[in-house]
C-alpha cells in the first residue's frame, strides 16, 4: 500500500520545508511507500492521508486536537535515523491494523 503524508508547520515556509527535504531523502534511500505533501497547519483540514509529520512542539498541539491521522513529531530534522525509526513505527502500526 502507498501511504500519503502531510508535512506541516505553523508557517509552512521554513522548518517544515527543511523537514520535507530530509524526509524525501529518507523515503528515497529506504524506498518507503509514502508520498509527501507539504503545507501550513491550514492544509490539515483538507488532507485525507494517513499521517502528519511535523516538529515535536507542533506535534504536541496536533495530538491534543485528536485528528484521525497518526501524528509524528521530529526533534532533530537532520537526524535521518530518528526520521526513519519514527516512519518505521508508523508502517508497523498500519500493518498491524490489516
Amino acid at each position: 500500500m502507498q501511504y500519503k503524508g502531510l508535512v506541516a508547520c505553523r508557517a509552512g515556509v521554513g522548518s517544515s520545508l527543511m523537514l520535507k527535504i530530509k524526509l524525501n531523502q529518507v523515503i528515497k534511500e529506504h524506498d518507503l511507500p509514502l508520498k509527501i505533501e507539504h503545507g501550513s497547519l491550514d492544509a490539515i483540514a483538507g488532507f485525507n492521508g494517513e499521517v502528519i509529520i511535523t516538529l515535536s512542539d507542533v506535534a504536541k498541539e496536533l495530538v491534543a486536537k485528536k485528528l484521525k491521522q497518526k501524528i509524528i513529531g521530529i526533534d532533530n530534522i537532520m537526524n535521518k535515523t530518528e526520521i526513519f525509526d519514527k516512519l518505521e513505527n508508523f508502517f508497523d502500526e498500519e500493518t498491524a491494523k490489516e
Binding site: G14, S15, L17, M18, I21, K22, G39, I77, M78
Partner: protein, 147 residues
C-alpha cells in the same frame, strides 16, 4: 540557491544575546535593516515561539527563526547570525542555540532551493567550524558562493 538569498550585509558574527528572544531579535535585525522584513515579522516569530514552543530549533545548536509571509515578509532572504555565548531556547533535544538562520519567505516555494543548500551545509562539520572562526562576513559568504 542560498547564495542568491543571503549576502555579507545579512551576516552578523559573534552577536551578544542574553536570552533566546534577544537572539531572535538580533538575528532578524539584519533583515530588518536591509528592507527584507517589517518589524511586525519579528514580533510574529517571538509570538509563535511563545505559543507553540521552540520548534524553530531544528537541529542541534541551530535555529531557523521565521514566520508566515503575511506577518511582514517583504522579500525572500536568509540571514546568518552566530552568538558569542549560546542561549537556551527550551528545546528538549537541540539546546543550546549558537547559530541562527533567520528566514524571510514571500511565498512557499521560491526559497526551496536555498533551504536545500542549507540542509546540506548543516551536515558539514567544516561549515560550523567556519562559522565559529570567521572574523568577517565575507568569509562565510565566500564559502556559500563556492558550494
Amino acid at each position: 540557491m542560498l547564495k542568491d538569498l543571503t549576502s555579507e550585509k545579512l551576516v552578523r558574527l559573534n552577536v551578544d544575546a542574553k536570552d533566546w528572544e534577544e537572539a531572535i531579535r538580533k538575528s532578524a535585525d539584519a533583515l530588518l535593516q536591509n528592507g527584507k522584513i517589517k518589524p511586525s515579522y519579528i514580533d510574529a516569530i517571538i509570538k509563535t515561539v511563545k505559543e507553540t514552543g521552540p520548534y524553530i530549533v531544528i537541529t542541534k545548536y541551530v535555529a531557523l527563526p521565521h514566520a508566515r509571509s503575511e506577518a511582514g515578509a517583504i522579500e525572500s532572504a536568509i540571514g546568518i547570525a552566530t552568538l558569542k555565548q549560546p542561549v537556551i531556547f527550551g528545546h528538549k533535544k537541540n539546546d543550546p542555540v549558537k547559530y541562527l538562520f533567520c528566514l524571510s519567505a514571500t511565498d512557499n516555494d521560491s526559497h526551496l532551493n536555498a533551504l536545500t543548500d542549507l540542509t546540506e551545509l548543516l551536515e558539514r562539520k567544516d561549515f560550523y567550524e567556519l562559522l565559529d572562526y570567521a572574523k568577517k562576513p565575507s568569509e562565510v559568504i565566500d564559502y556559500i558562493k563556492n558550494l
